[in-house]
């Protein structure tokens, strides 16, 4: 039920996630008119918003701190806030070992939080609502944790699956469970972020679809006012919630990355 045409209402919450080429003329040659084809290098709406995120991060971190003021201005304060936030997180979870992962965690957090927040602008597009994006991030984390863990601890890294504090008889069963949960990590890691962002945007779109009831001539005036009023209030409320979700999901993704990395570099805690 992609397009629900209930009495003239057009509700298509998934349409906003469609990836379309920005320059349809060039792409149209390949698609033959039946939906433009998207090649590897095609500039799409997602490419545009990735670029806007890059520009935003550049403005925040490079222009915002260009004056290197000892007493920071507004933009520099935001940059310092993010720096301090991630730095403390890395120190708390990973300890001194985490220093070399700090730049990567900064990249993760700033990219996710910027994409999430930019996605809340009307008419915008959120790259983090796509599983392809979050899966690449989560798989990157998963591979990093696995490779760093094997490199640092060798076969001892596999010790985290052998729960030495449990009774001997239970350990093989627990090992299987631990192993499954380890390999499920990238899935849950990516779907948690992508799903949250996608769901929020879809819900807003659904309410926006209901609010469009004012355009249907057969509906009574009281019905129009009631439904669209409630819808608009709901959109405002969910928008506030989504602002929170945008920041919290970026935080969750980053701190989970820290926690996973601790398996690789920290002392065993299982």
């Amino acid at each position: 039920m992609n397009v629900a045409e209930a009495g003239g209402l057009l509700i298509d919450p998934m349409h906003q996630f469609q990836i379309v080429p920005l320059f349809a003329g060039a792409a149209g040659e390949h698609g033959g008119g039946h939906g433009p084809e998207i090649g590897l290098f095609t500039i799409t709406n997602q490419t545009l918003w990735l670029g806007i995120a890059v520009v935003a991060i550049f403005l925040l971190f490079v222009l915002g701190t260009a004056r290197r003021s000892v007493i920071p201005g507004r933009v520099q304060s935001i940059g310092e806030l993010i720096y301090g936030f991630i730095h403390d997180m890395v120190e708390d979870v990973l300890g001194h070992e985490g220093a070399k992962f700090f730049p990567w965690l900064m990249v993760l957090f700033t990219f996710i939080v910027t994409s999430n927040l930019l996605g809340l602008l009307p008419k915008s597009f959120s790259p983090t609502s796509h599983i392809a994006v979050t899966a690449v991030l989560a798989l990157g984390v998963f591979l990093t944790v696995t490779l760093v863990g094997l490199y640092k601890k060798g076969l001892g890294f596999l010790g985290m699956f052998w729960v030495s504090s449990a009774p001997l008889a239970l350990r093989p069963i627990l090992a299987v469970i631990e192993l499954i949960s380890y390999f499920v990590r990238p899935l849950s890691h990516s779907i948690r972020l992508g799903g949250n962002i996608m769901a929020g945007h879809a819900v807003i779109k659904v309410f926006a679809g209901f609010a469009s009831i004012v355009g249907i001539p057969t509906v009574g005036i009281a019905m129009k006012a009631g439904v669209s009023g409630v819808s608009i209030l709901a959109i405002a409320g969910i928008y506030g919630l989504e602002l929170l979700v945008a920041v919290v999901q970026a935080y969750v993704f980053t701190i989970l990355t820290c926690v996973y990395l601790r398996d690789a570099v920290g002392e065993a805690h299982h």
């Binding site: 799409t44 890059v54 920071p72 790259p127 796509h130």
Partner: protein
Amino acid sequence: MATTEAAAEAGHSAGMPQLNFETWPNQIFWLLVALVIIWFVVAKIAIPRIGGILAERNGTIGKDLAAAEELKAKAKAAEGAYTAALENARVEAAKIIAATKAEIQTVLDKATAEADAQIAAKAAESEKRIAEIRAGAEVAVAEVARDTAGALVQALGGQAEPSVIEAAVSARVKG
């Protein structure tokens, strides 16, 4: 191009553009491009710069605090020196006052003694003069009395014996 159409149609009807795997290579490619650029911006520019700013700020705050501490100590020392100087001055002043008082006292004593001596000398001289005057007066009285007595005796027709008159006058004058 039936397959493309079918895939696009499937993407549409499935309702999840996220699961339209045709777009994945494109998405992943541009994501990696964006991540590499962000990595350069964050790791190569932002982190060293912000780290430097924070370190500099901590240094500045530390330095300022140390300077404030030093100035405070200096102020305390200055206050101590001031108090000590004040105390010294007070003691000095007391000393000077005492010395001056003593000096004035000696001068005064000396002057008093001198004045006393002069007064005593003047008094003694005056007494001597008074005694002289008195002695002179007695002699004069006796002479006047003798002369008067001699003249009286002559006027009465007697012959006055100077020695008798003398004896009589001196007896009377003494009486």
